[in-house]
């Protein structure tokens, strides 16, 4: 073990960590924003539920490496373009979240919705002030899974040559070095842990009424 490797390469590790974070958070955010209207559609029109949830989850079965390589063909981008990774992760994020958004909205008691309409809420107000906030715990539990698994999936892109923490693994492999691999694993785990904790905190802020909740 040569620990001085870490000090000599601290700058590069930091850069890789930043691009890793960027490649994880951007698609998670886009995926979340797209999942909410899709989930609402699946919830409102029950007939579309199977189509939307089933259809998106089928994409989830496609191995990430295959998706990273097929997307450039579909979108006309270059194979090394990080946008491929972002789009692939958006697809995975939607695949997981749409179901939870739809089921979360479904768990809101119809009485509450009727009461809101009774006191004059419009559909938009009912959605943003009643249905969405009550669904937050369900959506957030899905988001935690998504963020953590996205961190892990991003590393796969190192195999085709997109730089992020996974590059430490491939570099360790070609040079037969343990230190970069271990560093990469630890930083990935730390990122997952920190982001997961942040989401739990966010949940507490967003749902002040459930302070005793299991989140």
């Amino acid at each position: 073990m040569r620990l001085d490797w870490i000090i000599n390469n601290a700058g590069e590790i930091w850069d890789l960590t930043l691009s890793h974070l960027w490649l994880t958070l951007l698609p998670t955010l886009i995926g979340l924003i797209l999942s909410i209207p899709l989930g609402y559609l699946a919830f409102t029109y029950r007939r579309s539920y199977t189509f939307i949830v089933g259809g998106t989850s089928l994409f989830y079965t496609i191995p990430s490496l295959a998706l990273f390589i097929l997307l450039p063909k579909v979108m006309g981008t270059k194979i090394l373009d990080p946008i491929n990774i972002v789009v692939a992760l958006v697809i995975y994020t939607i695949a997981l979240l749409v179901r939870l958004v739809a089921d979360g909205l479904d768990s809101v008691s119809p009485d509450v919705v009727k009461a809101a309409q009774g006191i004059g809420f419009t559909r938009l107000q009912t959605f943003f002030k009643i249905q969405l906030p009550i669904s937050v715990p369900a959506i957030l539990s899905g988001l935690r899974v998504v963020v953590v698994s996205n961190i892990s999936i991003v590393t796969m892109a190192a195999v085709i040559g997109v730089a992020q923490l996974g590059s430490l693994f491939t570099m360790g492999f070609t040079r037969r070095l343990f230190v970069p691999i271990v560093v990469g694993l630890i930083v990935c785990l730390l990122l997952a842990l920190i982001l997961d904790r942040l989401l739990v905190l966010l949940g507490k802020v967003l749902t002040p009424w459930s302070q005793k909740g299991a989140l």
Binding site: P63, L65, L70, M156, G166, F173
Partner: protein
Amino acid sequence: MDIFGWLTDPANWSGPGSIPFQAGMHLLYSLIALLVAAVIAVPLGMFIGHTGKGESLIMGSVNAMRALPTLGLLILLVLMIAPVFGSNLAFVIPSLIVLVLLAIPPILSGVASGIRAIDRSVIDAARGMGFSTAQIVWKIEMPCAFPLTLSGVRGATLQIVSTATVAAYVSLDGLGRFIIDGRAANDYAEMAGGALVLAVLAVLLELGFAGLGKLIVSPGLTRRIRVKPSAQIEETETKIMSVARA
């Protein structure tokens, strides 16, 4: 050469290193890993589900495995184990170990949470009718836990098939070969062709599992009637917890 050209080239359809050969190897490695994982995870899941002991262990292992990048784990194990074996085993064994490790948590949590989710009164009723513990486990708990067990196995399969692809990076045979070799030779047609075959294989497996579920899950367990939404969310969460992803 484009993807279509690569896919229809007869040279890619016979002999060692051809599409059928690599698809077969991919399925073979996946099947071995799935069987080994099931042999470990099913009894353990039955124990945890039946006794209620060690549930935190499951949640812990599921979450930790999800956060652990499979590529890093794989490369680390290969570098550690490779000096021990001289032959092909140097990368086959570590790859299989990683695949098994990844497949255990989803199966384990599927079996255990499937058993935990059974209404306690059902089990009490069985006990009242004079069922022995073994009978309760085999005739009540396992059949009732079957849908979640199946979705656990489905999640594990998904994970294995996906990770077996990456194992091509450390020289394992399988459909990932086309992606890695194509990348090395800058042959996009080969990469994309391999990726397409892989994607089709994965989707077919998923559809197969969906069909299997419809076919053999006891009709008494399929939810034709609308369930309480809160119970449904719990079930969805269990399902989502059981899929890890590579």
